[in-house]
Symmetry: C2
Subunit: 245 residues, 2 copies
Amino acid sequence: MTSLDSANGPAATSGAAPAPAPTRERPDIGELVVGVLGGTGDQGRGLAYRLAKAGQQVVIGSRSAERAELAAAELGLGVRGADNARTARESDIVIIAVPWDGHGELLKNLATELAGKIVVDCVNPLGFDKQGAYALTPEEGSAAQQAAALLPDSRVTAAFHHLSAVLLQDPSIDSIDTDVLVLGDERAATDLVQALAERIPGMRGIYAGRLRNAHQVESLVANLISVNRRYKAHAGLRITDVRDA
Amino acid sequence: MTSLDSANGPAATSGAAPAPAPTRERPDIGELVVGVLGGTGDQGRGLAYRLAKAGQQVVIGSRSAERAELAAAELGLGVRGADNARTARESDIVIIAVPWDGHGELLKNLATELAGKIVVDCVNPLGFDKQGAYALTPEEGSAAQQAAALLPDSRVTAAFHHLSAVLLQDPSIDSIDTDVLVLGDERAATDLVQALAERIPGMRGIYAGRLRNAHQVESLVANLISVNRRYKAHAGLRITDVRDA
């Protein structure tokens, strides 16, 4: 046990009120194009759907341009599809939503296309056995740190780790009851990604530290999987006592 | 990104309602004695205060019986103080709230006294530098796994990692707005610890996986420290979409 309060401001009072709507000024991201690499997977497609529904320009990327175009057509909402390289080139913000297995190789091959872009890594390195999920530890410390190592000219952040693909893809659900933890070493980049998360109704983007602290955020999905099994839930996270998010 | 939903039941609808009061039957823990090793530190004292206030019999443990008795007298509420060994012997549930530095040695020396007891490890192995907090990785994987390795005859769980000592110790705050993630490999033990967490108004005890997934829960405190710095908060966690906790 460690004091969480060492670097705190004055004590805030606690309350049981639901998370308030964010009030802080956010950067204007309305005109930015968001690419989703791995956008034909459940999570990528779910995020693409939510962001497009919120009015964001979205491109879905896949190894196969054809599959990406097909998935985009199914989503509608002006979503386009392209191969991963073209998606990266044509986007301002690029969400990495591929399986951990192919993460390193994909990013290595796209370093040129991703130069200068804001990269949002949401990959969770996990293993599975009969007892469920468990954390894998990448050599670099985390998927996000691997991305930062492979993409020295990109602005790498980490976010969107804990979202339920079922909820994201369910058109009958308007608002998703979760906060999005956003990590990164550059304030302007994390501010943009927080603003992006808040395009989706119900979500707040909460700054939650530097990339060196991404591993536990990525791995926490193993715990949420246990929660989901035990409670038949689609668990998300709220951070309490944060008002000016 | 990984599907959280692989092992799920039917899709639940999402809502913005605050966490409901727990409804599930809990084991009766009213008569159990709770010891807090490291109970003279801020977190230990805060937990002792909250549990005693809720009517639990509490013993504070410290290396020095005198210091423990002094801290207990300050708390009132029937709290007793004793040295760590006696505290362990006289308790049914023993919360480990010592600094990570002394964790292994303390437990090694108390293995006999802790045999047969429910041990609740709430230690967060963290390092600190000018950029803030970062996760340390114990050889055993986590503090909780180290405890399990050193205490083969105890029933080791992990919980209470994310509580603000400031909020715990503030008598003007009646209810603390957070869930408590409870980990362990034995259902009966985690059930008891969930019930213990729920003695404190505002808290729910949520089962969140096996001990092998404790590291990320312990380390997440580094992220909450970043949250607290950025937002001048005493951040806690809520798990959304869990109703029958």
